[in-house]
Symmetry: C3
Subunit: 254 residues, 3 copies
């Protein structure tokens, strides 16, 4: 940090199990990735190439290489996994992961119907090859999953070998963990936390008010995801109580 300020919350350091930030790259150029790493490299723990953007990105290999040199792991969004699965091309997906030398992958069912046993089977199989992040929640705002079910799904996916589970919100933050207005389903979040360990969950929280909610509830070192590249520096200040939204929150705790 550039200045010495007393009583700033202590942040975890890399490799982080908590206080973890997942950024979403939805089409940065190679040079933009370099710029992103220059300013945010210390604050980003993993980068998701959003949904199936990797399919159309012309400089995919170069981008992945730039992230790798910087020591920032990457993975393809779950929608790419689903696109292969629904076409009965799961084996092709495994080859893609090998070809691009990926060490992480996401298993999700946000856009497709997938029997949960089968989803867990995919978690198990991919865990032999890569570290698996599995995502719970639908991209369809109409499909409401009750809290007890979120817990069952998350626990089963962790038991199947998922490294962490992700709570769905999309790029926009208006499904899954959130109402269509972006408001947090607070009861859902609190109920999940009664059963699933804090450090095992990554909360997708693209909107500032959502980030503030989780940081106030769970502290500076909550795991957050789907953060836009230009919101990583702002998020870091929110975690540290150095933006208006959490400024007094951490001081009042002393």
């Amino acid at each position: 940090m550039n200045f010495t300020l007393n009583n700033v919350p202590e942040r975890t350091s890399k490799p982080r199990q908590t206080g973890f930030t997942m950024a979403m790259d939805k089409g940065l150029s190679v040079r933009e990735v370099e710029d992103f790493i220059e300013t945010c490299g210390d604050f980003v723990d993993i980068v998701k190439l959003g949904w199936a953007t990797s399919f159309v990105t012309p400089t995919l290999k170069e981008k992945l290489a730039v992230y790798k040199v910087a020591g920032i792991p990457t993975y393809f969004g779950g929608t790419l996994f689903e696109a292969f699965v629904i076409r009965n091309q799961f084996d092709d997906y495994r080859k893609v992961l090998d070809k691009y030398d990926m060490s992480f992958a996401e298993v999700s069912d946000g856009s497709i119907e997938l029997a949960h046993d089968l989803k867990c089977e995919y978690v198990r199989k991919l865990s032999e090859q890569v570290t698996v992040l599995s995502e719970v929640g639908s991209k369809d705002a109409e499909k409401i999953i009750p809290p007890y079910k979120w817990i069952q799904l998350m626990q089963a996916e962790l038991d199947a070998g998922a490294w962490k589970v992700i709570g769905e919100a999309r790029e926009s933050g208006n499904v899954g963990l959130f109402r269509s207005s972006g408001e947090v389903r607070e009861g859902l979040v609190e109920e999940i936390l009664t059963k699933i360990p804090f450090e095992k969950i990554i909360w997708e929280a693209p909107q500032k008010a959502q980030q503030v909610f989780f940081i106030k509830l769970l502290g500076a070192n909550v795991n957050l995801g789907n953060i836009a590249p230009n919101e990583i520096i702002p998020l870091e200040t929110i975690r540290l109580g150095l933006r208006g939204d959490t400024f007094m929150h951490f001081l009042n705790q002393k």
Copy 2:
């Protein structure tokens, strides 16, 4: 494309008459244009320098040159045309187009009152010099044009020599084709399509939900415009059924 996926909608290729994407550059730097071309060059068919931003852009010549080398045509937003016309400087505008070696121009009346005969006369005159895109719709949310009138205007402008007609939406997507909430005027769109050929229309659709509407209604290869540079890759995935919003749509058609 980077991976082999079955049953992905077929996209047209350049030079495209359908499946055409018009991006809006509202002030990119030369280096940002280079980055944009690197990631999106294959997916962008024409770039509009939004409204009269070209008037204040310090590196205008350099930017236009970078686009030209990449084979991506550019044009000045219709508001620049209107700014010259309302000042009785139309001849100056023709000289500007020559000076900057433009091969496309937009004729519009989004901010001024212009008798339609006269507008068509401008389309005719500019068509001798460049390829003309003409735009229908007001930038004023209060001015509602009924569907039969949209059709009359569009047809007359095509008859006058316009290469394609553009449906107005502004950068924000809340006028013209859309309600102030951004909701599509569906009846208007459907009525226009009964008379004006699909390939002759570029629908300005800056918001994701608007793009999804047109792609679901008219397929992967609908012509869309006013796409922000960082939304070109996302749009391409929506066209291909590789984002949640259209994921099942194309598969269900098989």
Copy 3:
């Protein structure tokens, strides 16, 4: 300007006392700052490193140097000042300003409670060291300050040595001068203007409709702040009556 258009409002030139634009940098990389200066350098009078983003910016010294070479002054957002003050580290803050060779600083109380005498005392002390911008308004949407009080606070801070006073709006434009919807508190603005000279005020106005309001009310050369880097070119066109929103406004005045 690139073209010759008649009857375009005359803009002030640097160093500007009116027609002043303050941009907010909330985490640009060094290369992005270079790009920003290339396209917007002539239109930006001062850059604020938003709130306490300077605390976590890894390339802070390099960024400040690039702005300095371009002749664009910079300052740290008021939240950084408040973070030092609330920790009884004001002397450390003065050293930070020296260490980074800053010639401007902001005094604010948007996130903390600060007796107004004391705030003015900070304005006085810092004025010995740098040029002070002081900000009025809370970041808390619940704290409504009545118009007569805004005037008292602004006048006292100017009397204490502030170069200009800033009306609070945050990055989002939904507190202070604005309602939570972003709508302007018009009565407040008009009442302030009865007492505080036009050229002494910088209105934070991040949203386009807010910029349009102030330009229509006060002309092309109103001082505006909290403008996002990619909105500087658009703002310049609004000031010049070359975007739909103010297109007829200036012409009708002739």
